[in-house]
């Protein structure tokens, strides 16, 4: 399966680890094109100049079009379990529109923590509870 790995760039290291695990299971993975830069400096993902220069968001959307599924790495962040950021929310919307499978590594955040958890849940994601073997 062709899978786009999505999530906060603060988890760039984890993205590469998951990519390696999925590749061992014969999946093909897309990761953000600036992932190695973000490994050194996660703040880059918040730097608009960098984002415009690399066109990273547009390229990620285009990858979703090419892929069969997205996998959202929603680790705990800023005290929120299952955190999903704004860019990832948009990616979920694109995947939903294009009728791609949407995998969430962990359960979605609580609505009390992130109001747009409703939209995430309505996109009907498959919750993996941390088990990548469930991707099929």
């Amino acid at each position: 399966m062709k899978i786009v790995i999505c999530g906060s760039m603060y988890f760039a290291k984890e993205m590469l680890e998951v990519k390696a695990q999925l590749e061992k299971k014969s999946h093909f993975c897309f990761v953000p094109l600036d992932i190695y830069d973000c490994l050194k400096n996660p703040e880059l993902s918040m730097d608009l100049k960098h984002c415009f220069k690399t066109n990273v968001q547009k390229k990620c959307f285009d990858n979703i079009k090419e892929a069969d599924a997205i996998l959202v790495l929603n680790y705990r962040k800023n005290g929120t379990e299952g955190y999903v950021g704004g860019a990832t929310l948009m990616e979920i919307g694109i995947a939903q529109t294009l009728d791609k499978k949407i995998f969430l590594l962990y359960p979605p955040p609580k609505i009390e923590d992130l109001r747009y958890s409703v939209e995430i849940q309505l996109a009907k994601p498959i919750i993996l509870n941390g088990n990548l073997d469930l991707i099929s």
Binding site: Q57, K58, G86, A87, M90, Y116, V118, E119
Partner: protein, 165 residues
């Protein structure tokens, strides 16, 4: 120009006159439906539906089915349009204390200028992906996803609809 207005149902009282103004300026405009079917199949106003949804539980399936249908229908309207206009008015929003720097209670209410909710952010992402113009009626809100909003390169109208072209 074909325009789809995006924004919270909470702004309905402002969005309907906004649609009228755009039509007076010669645009073709779509918004969300004004009526939806309730659990018994009866048509109710979208405002009534919004009030029900605000307090709905997870097991009130029809409420969430309507929301899911509305999301996809609005995505289709964006695909139809040349541009989206994000109707981002001020809104009082409750924020969990661990996400707010100024609160000692579990939640704090903040007046967000030019509020854009998660659903509208998804719509902006889709418009960007489909290469549609993205207009923002008012200023970019101070929200955790401000960079994502700016990243889709919206044209900020500061209330001036004549700038839409």
């Amino acid at each position: 120009m074909k325009i789809t207005i995006c924004g919270s149902i909470a702004f309905q009282d402002k969005i309907i006159p906004l649609k009228d103004k755009l039509e007076e300026l010669g645009h073709e405009v779509k918004i969300w439906p004004l009526k939806v079917k309730d659990g018994g199949g009866q048509l109710i106003s979208v405002q009534e539906y919004y009030q029900i949804r605000r307090t709905a539980n997870n097991d009130e399936k029809w409420v969430w089915d309507r929301k899911a249908e509305a999301i996809m229908e609005h995505f289709n309207k964006i695909a139809w349009s040349d541009a989206i206009l994000v109707a981002n008015y001020d809104k009082i929003v409750e924020t969990p204390s661990h996400l707010s720097s100024h609160s000692t209670s579990a939640h704090s209410a903040n007046n967000i200028k030019g509020y854009i909710g998660g659903n509208t952010l998804m719509e902006m992402g889709l418009a960007f992906f489909l290469k549609k113009k993205i207009y923002l009626l008012n200023q970019v809100p101070e929200l955790p996803y401000k960079e994502e909003i700016l990243g889709v390169k919206p044209v900020i109208l500061n209330g001036d609809l004549a700038k839409i072209q």
